[in-house]
């Protein structure tokens, strides 16, 4: 009952708007596709914030994880990463609490309509800062980018979504939500760059080296919850049966070749 009253149960004939807000219960506006996607982004930020509040993030492991992202990057990129990791290492409790609160506030700010623009703008800025100082640009400049390891960096997707879901309609007739603000062609270009980059990273030596993906899956299983580690372990086992027999682009290179087993009789 409380949420229906606080939300202002829409009553027939009431005008929904600022002029009528002081005199009548304001009904919630309908959720269009863009608003639903904004709320989904808000949920992700809230989840990120709560994950940041985990006890392990208030230990030295957090700045240590940040410092690792500097490896292999140019000095102009790695320097600020190392500096920020050291700063956080000296004040990990306070700074991690601030970071977690910021992310939680971003999610709630996107949810609350009066602050959605401010929250989306802050979301884009914060995402880009994390992409640099927390993820080292996803290893793109370090030559170690791989979709399995998260390249081009998951947090950059938050920044992309914050821009694409901006509450303005420059192209109201765009066939997709993504094109309503920046236009359909720029939106298509954004997705083309994103998916094209994922495909390019999958072809880099970091992804094609023998055992590269299985090693990444092993690393991701460390410290993960038991059910997630089970998925990673079985995915690693399945990936181990696939090898590149020829340069990529060849059909023969993509055929799975089962590992020989002593108990398996050779095919006739």
């Amino acid at each position: 009952m409380t949420e229906s009253l606080a939300a202002g149960r829409p009553a027939a004939g009431h005008a929904v708007g600022r002029a009528a807000a002081g005199r009548a219960a304001v009904g919630p506006a309908a959720l269009d596709a863009r608003r639903k996607l904004q709320l989904a982004l808000g949920v992700i930020w809230v989840l990120d914030g709560i994950l940041q509040y985990q006890p392990s993030m208030f230990t030295a492991s957090f700045p240590g994880m940040l410092a690792e992202s500097a490896h292999g990057n140019p000095a102009v990129v790695a320097g600020p990463i190392t500096w920020s990791a050291n700063l956080i290492g000296h004040h990990v409790v306070v700074l991690n609490a601030i970071f977690a609160t910021i992310q939680l506030a971003l999610g709630l700010g996107i949810a609350w309509r009066p602050t959605v623009r401010l929250a989306l703008a802050a979301s884009a800025a914060w995402s880009l800062a994390i992409w640099w100082l927390g993820e080292g640009f996803g290893g793109i400049l370090a030559g170690a980018a791989s979709p399995v390891s998260g390249a081009p960096g998951p947090v950059v997707l938050y920044a992309i979504l914050a821009v694409l879901l901006w509450p303005a309609d420059r192209d109201p007739d765009a066939p997709s939500v993504a094109g309503r603000f920046i236009g359909r062609r720029p939106a298509q270009a954004v997705w083309l760059v994103l998916w094209g980059s994922l495909a390019a990273f999958a072809l880099l030596p970091a992804s094609r080296a023998p055992g590269a993906i299985s090693h990444m899956l092993t690393d991701s299983a460390d410290g993960a919850p038991a059910w997630l580690a089970w998925i990673d372990t079985h995915a690693r086992t399945g990936e181990g049966g696939l090898t590149w027999a020829a340069p990529p682009g060849s059909l023969a290179s993509s055929r799975p070749r089962a590992s020989p087993s002593p108990s398996t009789a050779p095919a006739a």
Binding site: A6, A24, A25, I50, R113, W227
Partner: protein, 173 residues
Amino acid sequence: MGVAMAGMLVSGLRTLPSTIWEAVFAAGTAWFGYRMLQARRGTRPSPWRTSHPLPHLVECGAMAFMFLILPAAAPAEGTASGMSMTMTATESRFSFLTLPLAVFLFGYVVWLGDRVALHVPAFATADARPATGPGSSSGSGSAATRYYLAPRCAVICKITMGITMGYMLILML
């Protein structure tokens, strides 16, 4: 629910044994499950019952889940720790449930935030007639007029509880 959550996090705030809370939240889960079935059948809820029982069903179920799964670790002397939020190997088989429960609760929190109106009057009418000004008295003669205090505060409390409960579930990952 807030009292139970406080007791889980800080042992000094524990009020009732875990078995009683399990029974309470199991009963709450059953009640809101019944309300869900009633809502699906199209039964119009009374003004004093929530029109959205699903979040309450999930919250009660999550509380019952946490009380059933987590061990009630005895706090060490001089510490204020509550129930251990880490699970044994046997209990961790059910840890896959904590993430979807937490995501649902965060979705509920965001949904509440979206529905919080900027200007919420101190009262709302129980029927479709337009509400009068905020200064009108209860003796206005409208039989359908009700007075409710601080509805936004109620929503903020629910948001706070949802975030806290989600945090407790995340700790169980």
